[in-house]
Symmetry: C2
Subunit: 216 residues, 2 copies
């Protein structure tokens, strides 16, 4: 049993990786106990990634090395622009988020740092590097959400944020992302693997800083 590229990346991103996927904020979500102010600031800031993230998916679509990969990425683009977008609007309504905070909130330091990483990878990253950032963003979210108990919190703002990230379609997408990064990573030389590792570690740290910022 040989180690896959994604396992290699994840193991070398500890202890941050485990800190993200077992973060107290996520336990608060499972229990429905994240205070409204924390949930509001978390979602307001997170929504500011939707545009960069969609652009990064476009970059993956543009840079992929084969048609079958493009079809898988296109499928994920369709999800980001449908289900996920409506969740944010409904959650903002429920949390009483005003127009200014939906459209152009003051950005936290952790948000700015992560957005810079994403937009830099979009503009200059190789396909492997784009996949690396996408994989950290999606895989960490799958891993914490898969730890959710069967009984979901009653508040849809909490419950749906969990099910958006552990439903079967999302599981398939993350499995595909990992397999794709394994496939592409197998052909990289040492230097390019090291670049992906630095990116993976950096992105994982960004996720951790983001959760830390919004924990009560």
């Amino acid at each position: 049993m040989t180690e896959t590229f994604t396992d290699w990346l994840r193991q070398r991103s500890e202890p941050d990786w485990t800190a993200v996927v077992t973060h107290p904020f996520t336990q608060g979500l499972f229990d429905g106990l994240v205070p409204v102010t924390s949930m509001r600031s978390y979602l307001v800031q997170d929504y500011q990634f939707v545009d960069d993230f969609l652009a990064l998916l476009g970059s993956a679509l543009a840079k992929a090395d084969r048609y079958s990969s493009r079809l898988a990425i296109a499928g994920s683009i369709a999800v980001v622009t449908s289900e996920e977008n409506t969740y944010f609007q409904r959650a903002f309504d429920a949390l009483g988020v005003g127009e200014a905070d939906r459209v152009r909130p003051k950005l936290d330091e952790a948000t700015v740092a992560f957005r810079e990483l994403i937009s830099d990878t979009n503009a200059r990253g190789s396909y492997a590097e784009v996949l690396t950032v996408l994989t950290v963003a999606e895989w960490t979210y799958l891993e914490w959400a898969m730890r959710a108990p069967a009984a979901l919190p009653e508040n849809f703002v909490h419950a749906e944020w969990i099910t958006l990230h552990n439903n079967p379609d999302f599981q398939s997408w993350v499995r595909w992302l990992c397999r794709e990064l394994d496939r592409v990573g197998a052909d990289l030389d040492e230097r390019d693997r090291a670049r992906c590792l630095r990116l993976f570690q950096h992105a994982t740290r960004c996720e951790l800083d983001f959760f830390n910022t919004h924990s009560p």
Copy 2:
């Protein structure tokens, strides 16, 4: 009434533009009279653009300067990977196209030239340049298809190729593309406008060469 950027581009791409949108091949489509061998070679070669074109849409998604533009582009990506893809498979079945010619046909010179233009624009083009190539590809097709008579040919291979390119959703998408290129073009300097014009003229010529190659 001032001239829009897209009108300026189109007028400076004559007489090729009119030659494309009134091409005898398209008249043959309207009459259902394109010989099977021509229709087969045309669609086999055209299908080879689907992958590059999807990648170019990804490049537009990655490079767009605002979220609302990304949503419009994402909508078009969904169409390319659904309705249009099934048409090709059904048409290939009807025309008796074998597996090799669906997956890896010998490419015509006109196909190679156009694919190079598209992939070069994907890799190195600005948002305005990506929009320019997309606009030529979609606007020429809308213009010839809008000339179709109300009575469509009986054969779905002909009829659906027309309705894929003149249905209301496609009309909206092309109108959006033109408006978007007008918006982005308004902020370009002389040099960048000239680069877009060269690309527009080159892409229009590629379309003409492509139709010429497959005309009986």
